[in-house]
């Protein structure tokens, strides 16, 4: 059972990528569980055909002692098991603690079935407190993929997240498996992200081109794999699945300095010689 955590700047396309990736893997016969670690609880919408029924924390709140696995573990497309941790609405409470509590409960209820091939943790963009690192604590995810684009802020965030990951990687078994480039059609994006990945001590495992079909599928509450299975984009997600399956590059990240990061971007636009 491979446990994989996905991090990345808020809005960069983590959930979209994870769900499409999961669908691709499951279509190919893999047994998966996707655990949404985001109080917005929107991490499995495309797999379940709509925003879920009760989240783990909602269920715990209304039924403190009697939560059963079947109340919170729902089956999505291709038999993917979907769980949403849930959490407080914006501006109140502590979502991080919510993640800790939800994952503990999943463990207690035996959600981590040994027969699973993959468990994906889709984690909220801003890893602002200890709770959001719960998926990469000892005994959970061993691999992390960071979703990024060629935008400065996206790589800045990825670099920042890598600092936090480095701490866990240095004391435990978790490693970075790669950067997933979710394209925003930035000038020289591929090279930028590749260089960044390399200096971070990892690689770009896959690049997802920008394609509106993804948005269309989302509006229809589906992944591209079910919405347009014969499309080029679907094939790309399938290749991401293959790349992930066969990945052997697992490293402790070496975060860049602020100066180096900005230098990368400066070099990039100068290289492209647009202005």
């Amino acid at each position: 059972m491979r446990q994989i955590a996905i991090y990345g700047k808020g809005g960069i396309g983590k959930s979209t990528t994870v769900q499409n990736l999961a669908a691709a893997l499951a279509e190919n016969g893999r047994k998966l569980m996707v655990i949404g670690c985001d109080p917005k609880s929107d991490c499995t919408r495309l797999l379940q055909g709509g925003c879920a029924r009760k989240t783990v924390l909602e269920e715990m709140r209304s039924n403190p002692q009697g939560v059963k696995l079947e109340d919170i573990l729902h089956e999505g497309c291709f038999g993917i098991r979907c769980v949403e941790s849930g959490g407080p609405e914006p501006g109140v409470g502590c979502a991080g603690r919510g993640i800790i509590t939800a994952i503990n409960l999943l463990e207690e209820l035996g959600a981590y079935d040994k027969s699973l091939d993959y468990v994906f943790y889709d984690v909220l963009g801003d890893v602002v407190c200890g709770g959001f690192a719960m998926p990469i604590r000892e005994g959970k995810a061993h691999e992390i993929y960071i979703v990024a684009s060629g935008e400065l802020m996206s790589l800045y965030a990825a670099n920042n997240i890598a600092k936090g990951i480095a701490r866990f990687a240095n004391t435990g078994d978790v490693r970075v498996g790669g950067i997933i480039c979710n394209s925003r059609l930035v000038d020289g994006e591929q090279k930028l992200v590749d260089t960044f990945a390399q200096e971070l001590g990892t690689h770009t495992i896959s690049s997802i081109p920008r394609d509106n079909i993804v948005q269309h599928a989302e509006i229809h509450r589906q992944t591209v794999i079910t919405y347009a299975p014969d499309s080029v984009q679907a094939e790309i997600y399938r290749s991401l699945g293959t790349a992930l399956e066969n990945n052997t590059t697992f490293t402790i990240p070496t975060p860049l300095t602020q100066e180096r990061l900005e230098e990368l971007f400066m070099d990039s636009i100068q290289f492209n010689n647009k202005y």
Partner: protein, 452 residues
């Protein structure tokens, strides 16, 4: 089944809660290891009040160190404080084992204590254990259970050669009760480990020198070789079930029993010891049982259908209810603070078996207890010291039982477990009732002799 609702659903707050928080149990368990220093990873106020509760119950100094988390720790994480604290603790207090438990604060900010501990410099031949015990989730029994499980998962060596030895997990009991259950176990097994064992720690004067430790507690060497035990018995599900299931990793199957308060529960304990040791029940135990039953038969009429309301920890409440029901009393109201679902099921099963029209509540508070008692007077109230106000207000005698008993000294020296414990419990019940019956009698009307 009777139902009871002190505006339960419309009332969103707890009024005078029935239980304290998990770290207290974690500290209790930790103190049962020899030369162990419990450490609270939290702000300073936390362990201060928890130490006080234990101090008051045992009337002695309880030493617990603290990470002293400040506002900056809340914002930036508590790792730095914990590192410094651990270094200081080993240097200044020189414990053999440092047992860290978390608090509301460290759990909410999400400190990865396990990850931090992995990279600490632990002096040679010393150990650190760490348990997750958020104060807002559970009772002292929950915290005790987490610490016990942590000890079992983190200290013992793997692959020990098995010998005929019993591992006894006594649960959160007073030292005298641990003594009783260990005494019985010792009659069946030549080799015995009690984990954790607060005898010689909590019923012993705290050494003045902060680098010295009381002689009691399970020795570290015994915990390291825990895997050598062939059998295990765990008493009290809330306190010991988690630890008991962790024993599977050491190839030990533990029998989970209720705490042996009362004849039936003690019978079950003896039976389990008998079966696992393949030894016959010694005559001394048979004699104890005979005496207990004889006395019971004799006193039974005086106690028959006397009503009781019980408010104590779940692990004690279950066998106590069973015992009182079994001797013909009516435990009509049993309540506890946080408890697991099994508690409700166990009590309901007892009510059904003895045809008692009773009420059981968990997640209850003293307000629930008061509302019930106003509707349905009982003859005796059984629980901790904090029940004395209700006792006085409503004119119902209180039998101090369980944890904590903080307004009478030395309560922890007398065992309620075992057959002899039955007799002591019976004596206490009757004396409490008799004292109460006589309290308003005029001097000249007092009887010198009473027959029971």
């Amino acid at each position: 089944m009777k139902t009871f609702d002190s505006q339960g659903d419309s009332r969103k707050l707890q009024i005078d809660p029935l239980n304290m928080c998990p770290p207290i149990g974690a500290i209790y368990a930790a103190l049962g290891i020899h030369a162990c220093l419990p450490h609270s990873h939290g702000a300073s106020g936390c362990c201060r009040f928890q130490r006080m509760e234990l101090s008051k119950h045992f009337q002695k100094i309880i030493r617990v160190t603290s990470s002293m988390l400040l506002e900056s720790s809340a914002i930036f994480g508590g790792e730095e404080n914990l590192r410094t604290a651990v270094n200081n603790a080993f240097q200044v207090y020189s414990p053999e084992v440092l047992a860290i438990h978390t608090t509301c604060l460290s759990e909410t900010i999400g400190d990865d204590v396990g990850g931090i501990v992995k990279n600490l410099d632990v002096p040679a031949s010393r150990r650190i254990v760490y348990a997750s015990t958020p104060g807002y989730a559970g009772s002292p029994l929950t915290g005790y259970a987490s610490m016990l499980e942590a000890i079992i998962r983190q200290i013992p060596a793997r692959r020990e050669k098995k010998i005929k030895k019993l591992l006894l997990l006594p649960g959160m009991l007073n030292p005298s009760d641990i003594g009783e259950v260990a005494r019985y176990a010792g009659l069946f097994f030549d080799q015995l480990t009690v984990l954790p064992d607060v005898r010689g720690v909590l019923d012993w004067q705290t050494p003045r020198n902060v680098r010295e430790y009381a002689p009691g507690g399970t020795p570290l060497a015994e915990i390291i070789s825990l895997g050598a035990c062939s059998d295990a018995i765990a008493l009290g599900a809330e306190a010991t079930a988690a630890g008991a299931s962790a024993l599977a990793e050491l190839n030990i199957t533990a029998a989970q029993l209720t705490v042996p308060v009362g004849i039936e529960a003690t019978d079950r304990f003896i039976e389990s010891l008998c079966r696992r040791s393949a030894r016959k029940v010694p005559d001394s135990i048979k004699a104890e049982r005979t005496r207990a039953v004889d006395v019971l038969m004799h006193l039974h009429p005086t106690l028959y259908h006397k009503k009781a309301a019980i408010f104590c920890d779940a692990d004690l409440a279950v066998p106590l209810t069973e015992f009182l029901a079994g001797i013909g009393m009516l435990p009509v109201f049993v309540c506890t603070g946080f408890a697991q679902k099994a508690f409700m099921d166990s009590i309901r099963a007892i009510f059904e078996r003895y045809h008692i029209d009773g009420i059981v509540l968990s997640q209850a508070d003293r307000y629930d207890l008061e509302q019930f008692l106003r509707e349905t007077p009982v003859d005796i109230l059984i629980g901790g010291s904090r029940g004395k106000i209700l006792s006085r207000k409503l004119g119902i005698p209180l039998l101090r039982f369980g944890f904590p008993v903080i307004d009478r000294p030395l309560e922890y020296l007398y065992p309620y477990t075992g057959y002899r414990g039955c007799l002591y419990l019976l004596q206490k019940i009757l004396c409490t009732l008799q004292d109460f019956a006589e309290q308003d009698t005029l001097a000249e009307d007092l009887h010198i002799a009473e027959s029971f």
